[in-house]
């Protein structure tokens, strides 16, 4: 993509405003922009690909249905992940639908051409790390994922979780500390 082409891309806010005005194409553009990120977040957050697929659909559908509620002063990513997190919490609360941490989601796929022993060790370490991540408290997990993978600021994460920036800082540290113990072991 050239610099010029990138510059002509509408911002998330502009796309949301177009969507509010009834432009379906704007929804598709936002969807393409956030599809992979949101899906990956939900798989890592719920630890279950099937649950993540349902939540993925529901989140984007909610974005479309609630487009009138979007305030342009809020970053779209913050709004999107707030919806995703709230829907995930609702689904985790339902005892019948509580997803089991699926091994398939956690298991590390072998590299195509691994250096035998090193590859195996790394795979085991990664699997252990993912297991540790999925067993963190929900909010700690969300904080770590949003910070590490989505590159969101602590202030944005605090907005998503409805808490203070200081609390996010403390919990992020606690979460990474837990993972660190696994890596170290």
């Amino acid at each position: 993509m050239t610099g010029r082409a990138r510059m002509s891309q509408p911002s998330d806010q502009e796309l949301m405003l177009a969507l509010k005005a009834g432009d379906r194409a704007a929804f598709e553009a936002l969807y393409r922009r956030y599809r992979d990120r949101l899906h990956a977040f939900l798989v890592r957050y719920t630890g279950d690909p099937a649950t993540a697929q349902d939540l993925f659909q529901e989140t984007f559908l909610r974005v479309f249905r609630d487009r009138a509620r979007y305030e342009p002063r809020a970053a779209f990513a913050t709004w999107l992940f707030t919806i995703a997190r709230n829907l995930s919490l609702d689904s985790l609360k339902k005892p019948a639908a509580k997803p089991v941490q699926s091994e398939a989601a956690i298991q590390v796929v072998p590299d195509p051409a691994p250096d035998a022993l090193q590859g195996l060790e790394r795979r085991e370490a990664d699997t252990a790390l993912r297991r540790a991540l999925t067993s963190l408290p929900e909010d700690d997990r969300a904080i770590l994922l949003l910070s590490r993978f989505e590159g969101l600021r602590y202030s944005q994460i605090a907005e998503i979780l409805g808490t203070s920036e200081g609390a996010v800082k403390v919990r992020a540290h606690r979460a990474l500390q837990a993972l660190r113990r696994v890596v170290k072991a």
């Binding site: 009834g22 992979d36 899906h39 002063r73 770590l144 800082k169 990474l176 890596v183």
Partner: protein, 221 residues
Amino acid sequence: MQCQDAQSLMTAYIADEVTSVERRDLEAHVVGCACCHEELAGFRQAWDCLVRWSVPGPDVRIEQELLARVEGERVTARPRIRPFAAGTAALAGALLSIVASSFLPYERAFELCRQALRKFDLFPGLPDSTLFFIAGALYGLIPLLLIGLVSGHLMGGRAPRFQGTVTGLAFAILITPYVLIVCSALPGTFTAAILAGIGLGALPGATGGFWFGAHAWRPAR
């Protein structure tokens, strides 16, 4: 900086969430402290390991299903009216208007209007009923503008003009008995002119107030 302080900052440091002073202090401490140096390496290793968890994109089937569902959604949602909020705003507007008229009765407002127009030599031949209409319009416009601003601000951007119109109509209905009672001594045409003025002033007041309160005066979340 103590080791404990340094270690408590490490995650924020790696995530680039520290101030420049914290960054400087932490880096200076880590250089001189083998223990914290090792700690930081451990945190960084965990942080780096995480990123190796790649997740494939969503299923094509899910994507098609979602886009089909969105395709089936209505684009122009019907504006939803909140009757309770409209009723409360109309009642508050009516009370405000009544209070205003108890301080400044309609006949007095009519006199002031006539004097003002005469002073500036405007519309010399204006009939009294038109003047009563203008005076009445102020008793609708101003209270509803104020109430609309506050309500629109509190309610946010949900069909504010529609909500404002309904509020204005409800207000007109609520205020009518009061006007009929206070104006019982006046000729019927004057009372009718006041009523028409109040009603027609309330509509742009409420509609504009709601709209302005919802859009220009950003609602608190």
